[in-house]
Symmetry: C2
């Protein structure tokens, strides 16, 4: 990788998510050369991916060009690259665009969907961790309804209109709520010649309540909201397989469906060379100390979802969410400056700002430390916070207009099959077979 060597130490950051961006910004105009690597040329605002999948938002309005974020920082270089391996001993990052020496390395690769080793589920279900994945899901949902119109086989039609969402964390809950609103508000108008009342939205959860990371009160209220919207909630039910037609579970319950969305877990996106068992703990996360230093290394760090910082309050590490990632990124930025200046680093302290999830129009739940509330006000708070954390004025303006429009018109206009999913998928598997 042809990046000029300067006299300042070189900090390489892998990943332009919440953690990587917060960190890079903190290092702007500091006495360090920073190289940010990401496989995309944009930052993704993951909390709103489900709205892309359900036609409420354009993908472009929740993505932001990484080069634009960094453009006023002459000491920060960006390269679009797929990192293949880390050679920790020789301090080299190996990627598809060449090798890069580092003085300090920060792993901010985030997380990926965790199928817990179940290959049939991985092959046949949809994930929602990136913009292309969300667009695939959007296309599939719409294609299913187009296909449902064409078949005269009742079982097939029901399977096409049956949606199974596995996992009732914020992603699963928000997607289930959005699909239920589409069923109610949009399908009857879009498909007058289809009995869309037969569409089913199933939210399957292995635990005994939805949003289990939040308060019991929030869980209870979220369940009420989901039921109001007509979502079928399945608790204490574990999905064991999906062959593209039938979902099997640990009980007698099965679902015949053309669409399974897997939102049941994430795991750290580890990189070869730093994935040995010594550093890796539960959920594929890299064990770090209170300075985000990877166990056993002085100059290799990890922040965000991939990092597991075990504390008394959080023995399993901080939750894999935006807030810890942003805070760790900022803190590590300051610590790296201290390290370069030969000053002692400061330990990370997590400031828990609470959590929230939205189910639908006027329906959200918010847990703050001292105050928990649900309903219309929570929904406005949810929207305000998400607008605030979006990057870029234009993105905020466009998301805001979309929300206002969708609120007034009970509509979601981006229901476009820009790249058909089924066709490509079928072509791909056929090619693989031959």
């Amino acid at each position: 990788m042809n990046i000029p060597r300067v006299s300042y130490p070189r900090i390489v950051i892998i990943g332009g998510g919440f953690a990587g961006i917060s960190l890079a910004r903190r290092l702007s105009k500091k006495e360090a050369q920073v190289v940010l690597l990401d496989k995309h040329n944009y930052h993704t605002f993951q909390p709103l991916l489900y709205q892309v999948s359900t036609g409420g938002l354009e993908p472009d309005s929740i993505a932001y060009p990484l080069r634009k974020i960094l453009k006023n920082f002459p000491n920060i270089f960006f390269r679009m690259a797929n990192v293949k391996e880390i050679d920790a001993e020789n301090k080299i990052v190996k990627s598809d665009i060449g090798d890069l020496k580092f003085d300090y390395l920060v792993i901010a690769t985030g997380s990926e969907t965790n199928y817990f080793g179940n290959q049939s589920i991985e092959k046949h279900s949809m994930a929602m961790k990136s913009i292309p994945q969300s667009l695939n899901l959007r296309s599939l949902i719409l294609e299913n309804f187009e296909d449902a119109l064409l078949t005269s086989d009742l079982d097939e039609r029901n399977a096409l209109m049956n949606f199974v969402i596995v996992g009732a964390g914020p992603t699963g809950v928000e997607l289930a709520g959005a699909l239920a609103e589409i069923k109610k508000g949009i399908l009857p108008k879009d498909y007058p010649d289809l009995d869309t009342r037969l569409a089913q939205i199933n939210l399957v959860q292995s635990g005994d309540r939805v949003l289990k990371e939040m308060s019991e009160k929030a869980s209870k209220k979220a369940e009420d909201f989901l039921e109001e919207l007509g979502v079928n909630i399945w608790k204490d039910l574990r999905v064991t397989g999906y062959d593209g037609k039938t979902v099997t579970t640990n009980t007698d319950v099965t679902f015949e469906t053309a669409t399974v969305v897997w939102a049941a877990g994430v795991k750290g996106a580890t990189i070869k060379g730093l994935d040995a068992q010594d550093y890796i703990t539960r959920g594929n996360r890299v064990v770090v100390n209170e300075f985000n230093q990877v166990k056993g290394f002085d100059s290799i760090f990890a922040v965000g979802d991939i990092a597991c910082m075990q504390t008394e309050d959080f023995p399993q590490g901080y939750p894999m969410m935006a807030q810890p990632a942003i805070q760790q990124g900022k803190q590590l930025g300051d610590n790296l400056v201290r390290l370069i200046d030969c000053k002692p680093m400061k330990p990370f302290k997590y400031n828990d700002k609470g959590s929230m999830a939205t189910v639908g129009r006027n329906k959200a739940v918010v847990d703050l430390e001292s105050f928990k509330f649900q309903g219309v006000f929570a929904w406005f708070v949810w929207m305000f916070v998400h607008l605030f954390f979006l990057i870029g004025f234009r993105n905020r303006a466009i998301v805001f207009i979309n929300w206002v429009y969708n609120y007034i018109r009970f509509d979601r206009e981006a229901r476009l099959i820009i790249r058909p999913y089924k066709k490509h998928h079928i072509v791909k598997s056929e090619v693989k077979k031959s």
Copy 2:
């Protein structure tokens, strides 16, 4: 195709472009069953595709769900289908989702890129007639700059930053202007470690002026605007080949480039069964009479780009643009109602509302019948007219915000490589080989 037969006659429309939509709307709540077929589930506002390619607009804001356009018209059915063949004798449309009987058929399939039989150009160049194509071009442009950063081979770097646009109609001129603005305003900030002054935008034209369908004054002014922006205009130069590396021409001039955009011609998108030489004329268009009736058929019609209605003023048929398509669609709608009511049809009369093209910020040319003007005012008129013809309030609002933002900030934020073009392209060709 399981569409119920009713006592009203069935009108099948193939294509949901300007012509198909105007026609369908005119037939709403009339005594006819209308079936609209399109291979996409959305209508595309083609005049703004170049802004999608150059990161100025989201694809979702220039597309509109066809089902939403039709939702209040209970007599109109939509099916997403690829029409394969027309059996004119038995009045059947054959598609990938089954056959459909018709009483009246309207072909509104529009036009496709015309490579004039040159397969090497077709294989290696980019077109810009659909949203997926425009997104591919957007990705390729951005990928080229990322790659230019990585290579130390000067020739390769120059080829990656060299753009050749063939054809100086509105599409070619607008794209060249937009690329020139990106070169000037965005590249130096996004790629500080790349000498982006070396980027070249070449607009190649076989005729002796750009925008040859417009007035000489408009052509002259558009050339001035393009030169101001630093576009290299090549006139009287005909591109004869492109092998993915070198563009050859009918003279000694050649271009080494990684990107050729082919905007040099369109042709009617004919369908098997109605593509016999009897009905087809220059540019693959279907010959129609003054009622848009296809030569030799009573109940088969063609409207828009695909239709060639030869008149004294337009011996080659009306220009392949939005205005004739919209006007023919409306007129044919009224005529079909007359036909069903056993009343005589009225001949089509084209109301030429003029033409316009934009080169860049504050730079546009407008030709009205009695008044031709250029510059800032023309640019505002261009924007107003395009906003007016966009479908949907939300789309208008979002395009407007994007334009205001881009105008104030000299920016285009949608520079996102959502689906890398090169990788997929390479994978595709490798798969084909094996």
